[in-house]
Symmetry: C2
Subunit: 250 residues, 2 copies
Amino acid sequence: MTTIPKSHPRYESLRIRDLITKAAKQGLVHDTGLIAHGRGEAYDYLLGEQTSSFSLEAEKTAAAALLIDKNPVLSINGNVAALSSKEMVRLGQSIPAKLEINLFHPSKKRKQLISQRLQNQGAKKVYGLKEDACIPGLDQDRAICDTEGIFTSDVVLVPLEDGDRCQALTAIGKRVIVIDLNPLSRSAQTASITIVDNVIRAIPSITKFVNELKSVKKETLNNIVKSWDNKKYLHDILVFISKRLNSIEP
Amino acid sequence: MTTIPKSHPRYESLRIRDLITKAAKQGLVHDTGLIAHGRGEAYDYLLGEQTSSFSLEAEKTAAAALLIDKNPVLSINGNVAALSSKEMVRLGQSIPAKLEINLFHPSKKRKQLISQRLQNQGAKKVYGLKEDACIPGLDQDRAICDTEGIFTSDVVLVPLEDGDRCQALTAIGKRVIVIDLNPLSRSAQTASITIVDNVIRAIPSITKFVNELKSVKKETLNNIVKSWDNKKYLHDILVFISKRLNSIEP
């Protein structure tokens, strides 16, 4: 990475790729997390590696939902910790919301490494290590969470989540906000609010909206969330990508 | 992987993912190879995980080119070795063509592991370990190849190649056949013949066409290759994906 100059046309993508491979070497990211990152790279490329105006609206709506609800929790996995630890801690502070570690491939050691990284970035308390509750409808390993965290939350932001867990959380009445670059994924399709954007851009953007909306009346926030049509949003994103592909002349 | 039944809707994709993560653990695949695999998964998903009729034509044209030219070489990297060692050996035997190992992140140890795997699948001779020639226009590490292999070849099949190397090979007059699931990649854009398909499907398909076209007159093979319009093909693929996305109703 050190040999790649800032002027390289793929600099930003290569910089992020470097973050995730380093985190994999340090034990924070699972092998399949690297594959998942690659999928993200591909979808982001199709989006033009920019936040679309549709996704800005989704991020504003997510901010409103996180401010309305009483017990918001931000779920963190290896990839999110690798790419956006500082930004997740800042988002948690600005709402305020709890941070809980949840891994697709559970491991106490990885949880401890991630917890340490979040604390290095200023997190006072990190949930997910107590493991004293279970989300119904999932196999044991994936179901584990903290009673004081996700289990009793009313809204969960789950960046880079898998479809099964997103569905299980929705099924027990949580409002689920998903950040996923693939608009066709089961997570994207089953979430209450989907954000089709790169976490690198999405999390600071949500934080910015949280800070803007903090002083706004609760009724206005409610209206923002109530008027959100997730199906229409996903359709708009597909049409957006489709038009981009159609306009490219090889 | 053992817990995933064949009936799982994502079985095939998970089976392939398992092959590549195992090969990474064995030292055949680089970390960034896992990320590249993820990009492939994403683009394949957009293609419907099927070989389009356009790509079947590309595979037929590639087979004709490999039969016409005098010194065909099949380039092999870690991901190809992980996913399609047996199929590459078979394709090499049916043309016949040489096999040469070329890695984006060069390593003698990985080359030896890959060579062993190819020999286990029946390869009599594997090129790429002699490293006695250089492709002009590339930095030292990436330029290294074998005089008897790629350096004196007239056509090279490079599945999952990077853009720089593809351009450098084209610049010194090689006919370059690329297999790449991303129709927008620099490899896809600069190759003589691009095949936008999964190597898992593409390599057996090329082998099938090689066997069919073996007995065909050289003039007919020449006509197949001459009439290939790579720019039109890439445009057709983009329109194909675009239409698929547009027709999906979330």
